[in-house]
């Protein structure tokens, strides 16, 4: 079992003929993802590793019945790609590119809400469901393993670190979701926790958060009614206030967004809060 992405998902790759698109299409196939097609305007008719390339998503969907898409086009073209996917019936959309203008991200996410599309990202490593042997993303294949833990993270490498430590501790994952590091992304902790809540296979959840924003505080409210144990690790303890740390937009504002307020809220909600990434696996073990 898994959330959002399952074996039934029929995946296309937008921007499949670029370096990144081509490489990760291969990686996804190797992992087991059902990649049914790709798009690259002007290159329709080609095949890459046996997968048909189309000029438009419209043509790809018609020919393959795709319902999910992963986008690899450069940031200035990402909004176009996202709308092309959504207006042509794609219901799960993974936006890999970073540096997408926030206004574009807002337009994408707003439209997605109206159309009932689940957007993962932008600026995400994607989503992987080890139990279903399928992924849409750029995460390394070998660090995951099937098991009962759901993982939701803001940023990429940190989640690899933690997923790998879970795997090494014998704690496999149902699904690992990367929400994306940008200021405006499709998911938030609440929406992903809600999915995990309804996934019978998920027995415990790991939340990987950061300073800035108030997503963790909102998640805390939700955790009270979740009915499943949660371990939370938040990065940014050593970050000085007012400084922006990369594209995570980790700026501390007005008490909200400080590590203290987040950890306090999460602890009060019943979550186990750990201080360092290497403490996560141990904490999870105590709960399952």
């Amino acid at each position: 079992m898994a959330i959002l992405l399952t074996r039934e998902s029929r995946v296309i790759v937008q921007g499949m003929t670029g370096n990144q698109g081509r490489f990760h299409t291969g990686q996804m196939q190797a992992y087991g993802t059902n990649v049914v097609g790709g798009t690259s305007p002007g290159k329709g008719g080609q095949r890459i590793d046996g997968i048909p390339v189309f000029d438009t998503v419209s043509a790809a969907v018609k020919a393959t019945g795709a319902d999910a898409s992963i986008v690899f086009v450069p940031a200035p073209f990402a909004k176009d790609a996202a709308f092309e996917a959504m207006e042509n019936g794609i219901k799960l959309l993974v936006m890999i590119p970073e540096h997408i203008p926030v206004q574009d991200a807002m337009a994408i996410v707003t439209r997605a809400r109206d159309l009932g599309v689940v957007v993962i990202g932008p600026n995400t490593f994607g989503i992987i469901s080890p139990g279903e042997k399928t992924k849409m993303g750029i995460m390394p294949n070998h660090i995951y393993q099937s098991g009962p833990i759901g993982v939701v993270a803001r940023s990429g490498t940190l989640s690899y670190e933690i997923a790998f430590s879970l795997t090494n501790a014998g704690l496999g994952q149902t699904t690992v979701v990367g929400m994306g590091g940008d200021p405006v992304v499709g998911q938030n902790f609440v929406s992903v926790l809600e999915e995990f809540k309804h996934d019978a296979a998920t027995k415990a959840i790991v939340m990987v958060g950061e300073i800035g924003g108030s997503a963790e505080e909102e998640a805390a409210e939700h955790i009270k009614r979740l009915g499943k144990p949660v371990v939370a690790y938040l990065a940014g303890r050593a970050a000085p206030p007012g400084k922006r740390m990369g594209h995570a937009g980790a700026i501390i504002e007005r008490g909200r967004g400080t590590l203290e307020s987040k950890e306090k809220a999460l602890t009060a909600a019943g979550a186990t809060v750990v201080t360092m990434p290497w403490q996560v696996a141990e904490a999870v073990k105590k709960l399952v």
């Binding site: 970073e98 997408i100 490498t157 990065a235 740390m245 990369g246």
Partner: protein, 370 residues
């Protein structure tokens, strides 16, 4: 990308928002001439930090002579770590009332957020929550004039101010949209002779959207080193410790700082080498760390898209080029880990696989820790 006050005001003015008369000056003589022209003026340091006024970055010149003297004193002064290189001489205002207004993006609701308060003039962080009116904007609808009127009514404005404020809200949102602003703020929005004037303004443009704004001036931000690393395309922030740090991914880089602090060390910087940086930029970034002259350099990599062998190659390139004269701690796992570890081992560098161990060792080598 933050904009200097005078640039922000130029943009405001181009949208029809009233600003005080003003001129950029960078010599005492300039200032003298400016004040002769516009009369008693505020001399405002053009630096990209908040709270300039309290830090002595805003001074008042009653006449041209005073302007000259003050400018002499202010030019080159240090303001919260930034050197003052130019001033904005702006006609002094007889302010009757100070209002706050800003438009920004709220990542939680994924919608633009407009905030306004009649307790303007101070940082909004210092204003009581109950005195702030917060309204989200539906991005599908945008800001029609009625939205401005509702906001004006919520603030209790009346008459001329009601009308002027309503109009201003529409313009401010248009700037936010047209210019891909992360923040557009007028504080204080001053009432002068019964009319609104943007007495101070902040405008931050979304870095990711700068490519579509050739009309907006590029503004250098940060220290020399910060600029240098940012030019390579990596995210870098200077801190005040002595362990230079490089990691891949913003979250990972933050966690690395946390780990150093956890073991009692003090990180010298934040450097996100990116999710998939190749040999050359990684080597350049590492070169920057060397030039910082830290006690220790700590490289913490979990290879996803980043390939461990690329990182190893970058390390060796720097080591064999400019050289790495301080202790180096490398933690290297993930994609192509074996190859990367082997490359380093060949040149006598032992790589750690556990982040905790590596961080502890880095702190130890810096002569710190518990």
């Amino acid at each position: 990308m933050k904009q200097y006050e005078y640039l922000a005001k130029q943009i405001l003015a181009s949208y029809g928002i009233p600003i005080p008369p003003g001129r950029v000056v960078d010599t005492p003589e300039d200032a003298e001439a400016a004040v002769r022209e516009i009369g008693p003026a505020a001399l405002k340091a053009q630096v990209l930090v908040g709270g300039r006024g309290k830090a002595g970055g805003i001074r008042f010149a009653q006449n041209a002579e005073e302007a000259k003297t003050l400018t002499k004193a202010m030019m080159g002064m240090d303001l919260k770590g930034y050197t003052v290189e130019r001033l904005y001489a702006e006609g002094k205002l007889e302010i009757e009332q100070e209002i706050y207004i800003s438009v920004t993006t709220d990542g939680n609701t994924k919608a633009p957020l407009i905030m306004a308060s009649r307790a303007g003039g101070v940082e909004i962080e210092e204003v009581d929550d109950r005195e702030i009116v917060r309204r989200h904007i539906d991005p599908r609808v945008g800001v029609e004039p009625y939205f401005g009127r509702e906001l004006a009514a919520a603030l209790g404005l009346e008459g001329t101010l009601f009308k002027e404020f309503s109009d201003l809200v529409v313009k401010l949102y248009r700037i936010y949209r047209d210019k891909d602003a992360e923040l557009v703020e007028i504080n204080p929005l001053a009432v002068v002779k019964g009319h609104l004037v943007a007495a101070d303004a902040r405008l931050n443009i979304d870095d990711s959207a700068m490519y579509r704004h050739p009309e907006i001036q590029r503004v250098d931000e940060g220290s020399v080193l910060e600029k240098k690393v940012q030019e390579i395309g990596l995210a870098y922030v200077e801190l005040d410790g002595d362990i230079a740090v490089m990691a891949n991914g913003a979250g990972m880089a933050m966690a690395t700082l946390d780990a150093i602090q956890f073991f009692g060390g003090r990180p010298a910087n934040f450097l996100d080498a990116g999710g998939g940086a190749s040999v050359e930029p990684t080597a350049q970034a590492l070169g920057v760390l060397v030039s910082m002259d830290p006690k220790v350099i700590f490289v913490n990599i979990f290879g996803g898209i980043t390939r461990c062998d690329d990182v190893a190659r970058a390390i060796l390139q720097v080591k064999e080029g400019v050289g790495i004269p301080v202790p180096l701690v490398v933690r290297l796992v993930g994609t192509n880990e074996a190859e990367g570890v082997r490359l380093l081992a060949e040149r006598g560098i032992a790589a750690y696989s556990e982040m905790a161990e590596a961080a502890e060792q880095a702190v130890k080598l810096a002569g710190e820790g518990r």
